[in-house]
C-alpha cells in the first residue's frame, strides 16, 4: 500500500515523466498476416506495424507493442494494461459502448470479381440479371441483398467454393472483400477473372473501417487522428501499403 502511494506521489510530482512513459500498443497475440504477425525471431511485422511506427513518429510518441489475447483486448485496455488497441479492430456500435475509436486507418472495400472481358460493372445496372456468388452470412451477402435486388444471389459455405464456380463459369460474379479478391486473382485459377471494381460504400452494412481503440475520453484520440491524417497526406501511408498490397486499402474517404 505504501509503495503504491509512493508511486502515486511520484507520478504526481513527475507528471511529465509519467507522460513520457512509452505507450503500450495492444496487438492481438494471434498472428493476422499481412497486418500483424511475429516473424521468425519474434519481432512483430506487417502493414499495421509499419503504419504504427509511422504514426508514432509523426505524433512524437514512444510506442511499445504489447501482444494481448484478442478476446481480452478491450478489458485489457480499460484496465490500463495497454493504452491503445491496434489490431484490425472494426469500428462498430457494440464496441463503441465500451471504448473510443480514432478515425479509421483502413477499410478494405468490397470488390466485384468477374470473368475477364465480361463487361460486368460493380453497379446494380452492371449486375442486373446476373448470378452473384457470396459467402453465406457475410457483410457482402447482406450488401448484395440490399443493393443488387435484380441479381440472383447464390450463397456458398466458403468463399473458395464461390471462386471455383466463378472460374467454372457457373456464376457471373463474386462479391467479396477486396484483399481476398486480390489474393485469389494472384493464384492460377484466378487467371480466369479480374477485379471489375469496388461497390459503392454503405457504412451501415459494410462497416466504418478499422481504427485505433482507446479508453473512453482519452485525449490521445486527437493526437492519433492528426497523425493518421499526416501520414495519409505526406504519402507515407501509400508507400507502406505498396509494400504489402496491390490495392488501396484505405477505402472510401470519410
Amino acid at each position: 500500500m505504501k509503495k503504491l502511494a509512493l508511486v502515486a506521489a511520484a507520478s504526481l510530482l513527475f507528471g511529465t515523466a509519467a507522460l513520457a512513459a512509452p505507450l503500450k500498443i495492444g496487438v492481438a497475440a494471434e498472428p493476422y498476416p499481412p497486418f500483424t504477425s511475429p516473424d521468425a525471431s519474434g519481432n512483430w511485422v506487417g502493414w499495421e506495424i509499419d503504419l504504427l511506427s509511422a504514426v508514432c513518429k509523426k505524433a512524437a510518441l514512444e510506442c511499445v507493442i504489447t501482444p494481448t489475447a484478442w478476446d481480452g483486448i478491450i478489458p485489457a485496455l480499460n484496465a490500463g494494461q495497454i493504452d491503445v488497441i491496434m489490431s484490425s479492430m472494426t469500428i462498430n456500435e457494440e464496441r463503441e459502448k465500451s471504448i473510443d475509436f480514432t478515425d479509421k486507418y483502413y477499410n478494405t472495400p468490397t470488390a466485384v470479381m468477374a470473368a475477364k472481358g465480361s463487361g460486368i460493372l460493380p453497379t446494380p445496372e452492371g449486375l442486373n440479371g446476373k448470378i452473384i456468388g457470396v459467402q453465406v452470412s457475410t457483410i457482402q451477402e447482406a450488401y448484395v441483398q440490399a443493393h443488387f435486388p435484380d441479381s440472383e444471389l447464390k450463397s456458398y459455405q466458403t468463399s473458395d467454393e464461390s471462386y471455383q464456380d466463378l472460374a467454372a463459369g457457373r456464376i457471373d460474379a463474386v462479391v467479396a472483400d477486396s484483399i481476398v479478391v486480390a489474393d485469389f486473382l494472384k493464384t492460377e485459377p484466378g487467371a480466369c477473372c479480374e477485379n471489375v471494381g469496388n461497390v459503392a460504400d454503405d457504412p451501415v452494412i459494410l462497416g466504418r473501417g478499422v481504427g485505433f481503440g482507446l479508453r473512453k475520453g482519452d485525449p490521445l484520440k486527437e493526437t492519433l487522428n492528426k497523425a493518421i491524417a499526416d501520414v495519409r497526406a505526406d504519402g507515407e501511408y501509400d508507400a507502406i501499403t505498396k509494400k504489402y498490397f496491390t490495392i488501396d486499402i484505405y477505402g472510401p474517404a470519410n
Binding site: S137, K154, S155, Y156, Q157, Q164, A168, G169, R170
Partner: protein, 258 residues
Amino acid sequence: MRDFLNLRRVIMIAIAAALVTWCIYSLRWDWLANPKYQSMMLRGLWQTIWMLVVTMVIGFALAIPIGFVQAAGPRWLAWPARVFCSVIRGTPLLMQIWLLYYGIGSLFPSIPWIRDSAFWPILRQAWPYAVVALSLSVAGYEGEVLRGAFKSVPHGQLEAARAMGMPRFTIFRRIWLPQAVQRVLPTIGGETVLQLKSTPLISTITIMDIYDVAGRVRRDTLVVYEPLLLLAVTYMAITALIVLLFKWFESRFPSKVA
C-alpha cells in the same frame, strides 16, 4: 379413453408439456417474428419437401428396372446394375453430390455446345445436380431391395400365369411387380425417412433447404439452440407424416399373400 390415458402416458405427456413450456419461456424466439426468416423458412421447407418427393419418385422408378434386371435379366444387364448398386451403396452420398456438382457440373461450362444450349440456364444451377445425386442414391439402395423382392415372388405363380397364356409384360405388371412392391413397401417407408435426413447435404452445394435456413439464422443472430431445436421438431414432424402416409398406404394393399 381410459386406455389412452394410462399412467405411463400421462407422465410422458406431462414431461413433454413441461419441456415445451420451458423451451418457449426460457429460450429466445424473437427471431421467429422477423419476416425475413419467416419467408426463408417457408422456402426452405418447400425446398426440402419437393426435393424429397421428387427424388423418391425418380429414384424408385429407376430402382424397378435396376432391381428387375438383377433378379431376372440377362447377365449383360444384371452385371452393370449390380455394379451401380455397389458403387452407390459403397460411397458417401456427400461425395456423390460433390462429384456431380463440383466435378462433372464444373466441366459443362467448358464445353461450348452445352454452354450455348437452351439447357444451360438450368444446368448452371445447383438443384439439377442435387436431384440427380439423391435420385441415384435411392435407385441404388432400393434397386438392391427390389432385387430380393422380385426374386421372392413364388416362381409357381409366374409359371401359372405363363401357362394361362398371359403376355410377358402383363405378367410383370399384374403379378410380379405388385407383389414385389408390396414386399418392399415397409422398407420404402424407412428409406423415405432416411432420405429426408440426407437432404441437408444439398445445402453444401448452395441450395437453401430448411437445414441451411437454420444455419443462416444461427450465424446472423448468434442464437444457437433455438433454430436447431425448431429444425429438429420440423424434421420429426415430416417424419411423422411420412410414417402415417405409409401406414395408410400399406393398409390399402391386400395383406401379404405367400
